[in-house]
Symmetry: C2
Subunit: 504 residues, 2 copies
């Protein structure tokens, strides 16, 4: 077989495994949106079967052979060609997956599907004990996965790599430590600032149906294509790319808070634009048709949510619309006061509703707890107490109930240990990319004031989305911005914004 | 291997194929309810892959070997044991499926998934030409399937067997011919009757949200369990059993017609009760965990829709509720007039909205056209004209547009050729079962007047649902009623009802 033929056969097989895996995507979306509760056990069986079959297709020794042939050829000569990148990333994944026994893959799928249902119940009743046996199972399975993959340093490295290929705990800790120092200084300034936003403005009555209409119009203005997507309601908002032409988002509405759904929709639509911007028509099912990493994915959602959605220029365009739609609550409000209100900084329980400045502290807390659970230094049974202790230390407030504490996020129930740091990485990438976009388009913020978002969207598509995973995150950031990842662009952006709002 | 071990291994493999197939069920539900239009092509690829993989699992020669071992053992001695029935039906299916090339299975799945999307467009625009190339493809693929299966008599027999195992065109024609003669007499009497219902009563304003609330309360009273199901909106209403604990129904609402959604919901909930009544906890994925046939399935939906939902006793209980909910439209209406209105008989275009008396003429028409397409006597290109000609002949009215004619039903686009006769078989089974239920529970109709439906539901579960496919339809009807299928119970029921309402 010629190397070209071997490559083609490799891609065909990998695509077929991805196609099967994308069926599980639909079942997962359904589970979280519309599945009746009674279907949970059968759904776990279905997802376990699909996970096992996908795994078997992907670890077929024939894939190893084809990879070997392709790797010996000219196809890998240009490391940034689609072919070389596909071969590199398939090899990376193949070497990992072949270390996982099929039984562990199936068990992991089955347990995490069931655990998600149990987490919903535990969260509703704020009952950590109800969730504890599932947390124990999940942590144990995650450790088994880490052991199977193998790792240098601590087991967390093996899991982090699943979400942020090539990243290590040591690098992340390094950058997070610097970020944290700067954040503490910023939060101190905000605490003692002479000016304070009136956040009650965004805590008036906001009719849920009108929130949906407004949110959809904002998503459409961003360029989210509703012919290839839809917006539904879930407890934990998410975006899922189910395949070419089908990228769905969800949100949740609070009739007394405008921010949650609105910025949530912008966040998920930002993820959606990334999925829609990847060239899936040509590359679906291969690394070139996937996102670079979860950190890069999160950079897109956070950019639209914060750099765009919490900018004064964005509201220069959308505030008059919001005033017409929510006349009773916003009719008498000034733009500057509204802008300050959506940028109000204060410690709060819920990560996904946190302001930009405290948000990263939420991540640091989870990151530390996860690492300790994996090394065994922290037992799952002690997680709630440890969470509450640290939360008091970092945020200065007592956690009132576990639903507002360690039960708030879906991730652990879903087996997504190693995922949280990608949120802060996303914030960092986001600020660094956005600074570059403004440099490339000096009138970008003025475009927002005119309701024009196409140039930003196209710049992101051209520089980030269309590359899929051809460049890994750490290479992509250098290619796009000329620099390695740094916490300075994020701090520069936040210091500038908050010094104006808070007058320090 | 002992025969018992062989049987267990056989069941394990068949279950796994069913589990994979049930994933396609979820994807199919999603496609018809919530999938964005842009996902159609990818969905076709997914369903084609699942169809091909399920087929491969099921036709594995190992299944043939295991079947052979089990068939040589005592397991088949009691023909009505679960084991013997499972072996019999798996053999039936295995012998059929092994005759189908995998390529044909995948192509059939792919084409019918795409064709359903094209049918939606064609129906919206009443554009038969748009649908014609897809109809041609589907008919051609159906003929290929029939040829692969093999058949005695005409090719239709091979396809009918997929929906009504063991039934033949010759038997169906025999019973339909008798039914048709009687129907023509009944419709003549109705046409010349002295009394006429005022059907305009059910064509007033019926708020869609209130229709949903009322419909859900009726379905709940029937015993449809919303913890294991849900009700959504689709162009073509359906019920789908996605697995243990998950049986979903859909309907469509017309703000100017009460009947469509209400009786539609009862119809689909009747299917739902069958699915919920099968012992899937023990038998999912095997014939004993499946419905006996589509005709038996339809007997359950039609019984709840008609024998229950269009009875005077049912409305004796529900009419006061309906009057409170739809006060402006029903407040001044008398029960007898309402009862007559929901039983109004008149020729109409749309099958799923047809009254009980003309309904079966819709089926006869489709059955004849399908048979002729399969033999080649009728070309797909001539279907619209032929439909309209026959419709005029049977119903006495001109079809105004193809959306009200040959484009109205989803079946052909979905490749469901051979399915239509099961609707009329369902009506026949329904009347025969219901007559027996009334015999067994002489105060059944009085129970309805008290809003009590549990005894009927339990009788159906005990006598029909729980058996799955242990008895084939023609055996089941004898077991339950003591008689072979006949058109007389249906005609007796209709003659009695309509002679009272129409005063002949």
């Amino acid at each position: 077989m010629s190397p070209q033929k071997a490559y083609e056969e490799l891609i065909k097989r990998v695509r077929e495994a991805s196609l099967l895996s994308s069926c599980a995507g639909v079942l997962g979306w359904d589970e979280r949106t519309y599945m009746p509760r009674g279907g949970a056990k059968h759904r776990a069986d279905q997802l376990s079967l699909l996970a096992g079959m996908t795994h078997q297709m992907f670890v077929d020794p024939k894939i190893g052979e084809l990879l070997g042939e392709a790797e010996q050829s000219d196809l890998v000569k240009k490391p940034e060609s689609v072919e070389a990148a596909n071969i590199r990333e398939i090899r990376h994944e193949y070497d990992k997956q072949t270390k996982l026994p099929k039984e562990l893959v199936e068990e992991f799928s089955r347990v995490t599907t069931l655990a998600q249902g149990e987490w919903v119940t535990a969260r509703q009743n704020s009952d950590f004990k109800h969730f504890l046996p599932w947390l124990e199972k999940v942590v144990d399975l995650c450790r088994q996965r880490a052991d199977a993959f193998g790792y240098e340093g601590e087991p967390y490295n093996a899991l982090l790599d699943e979400y942020e290929p090539g990243a290590t705990v040591e690098e992340v800790v390094d950058i997070f430590t610097g970020l944290r120092k700067e954040l503490v200084v910023l939060l101190g300034k905000i605490k003692n600032a002479p000016k304070k936003p009136d956040a009650s403005i965004v805590e008036r009555e906001y009719d849920v149906d009108l929130q949906r209409v407004f949110g959809e119009s904002v998503a459409a203005a961003m360029g989210y294509n509703f012919n290839e997507g839809r917006l539904d309601i879930t407890t934990h908002p998410f975006c899922t790319g189910l395949g070419p032409g089908d990228t769905r988002i969800t949100t949740r509405y609070n009739p007394r808070r405008l921010n949650d759904a609105l910025f949530g929709i912008m966040h998920e639509a930002g993820h959606g634009l990334y999925e829609m911007g990847i060239d899936k028509a040509n590359h679906f099912g291969t690394p070139a048709g996937e996102s670079a990493s979860l950190g890069i994915h999160e950079s897109q959602s956070r950019m639209w949510e914060n750099q765009v959605g919490r900018s004064k220029e964005f509201w220069g365009y959308f505030f008059p619309q919001a005033q017409r739609i929510f006349k009773n609550s916003l009719g008498d409000v000034k733009l500057d006061d509204f802008y300050a209100a959506v940028n109000d900084v204060r410690p709060s329980y819920i990560r996904v509703e946190a302001d930009e400045a405290t948000y990263n502290l939420h991540i640091l807390l989870r990151f530390e707890i996860e690492r300790a659970m994996l090394t065994g230094d922290l037992k799952p049974a002690d997680v709630a107490d440890e969470w509450n202790r640290r939360f008091k230390e970092y945020f200065g407030i007592e956690v009132d109930k576990d639903a507002n504490g360690c039960l708030q996020d879906v991730h652990w129930s879903a087996g997504l240990v190693g995922y949280f740091p990608t949120y802060t990485l996303g914030n960092l990438y986001s600020a660094q990319f956005f600074a570059k976009a403004k440099e490339a388009m000096p009138d970008l913020m003025q475009q927002f004031e005119q309701g024009q978002f196409a140039n930003l969207r196209n710049w992101l598509k051209e520089n980030i989305h269309r590359h899929g995973r051809v460049y890994r995150a750490n290479k992509l950031v250098v290619k796009v911005t000329g620099e390695s990842l740094s916490y300075m662009p994020l701090m520069d952006y936040m210091n500038a914004k908050y010094s104006e709002i808070y007058g320090f």
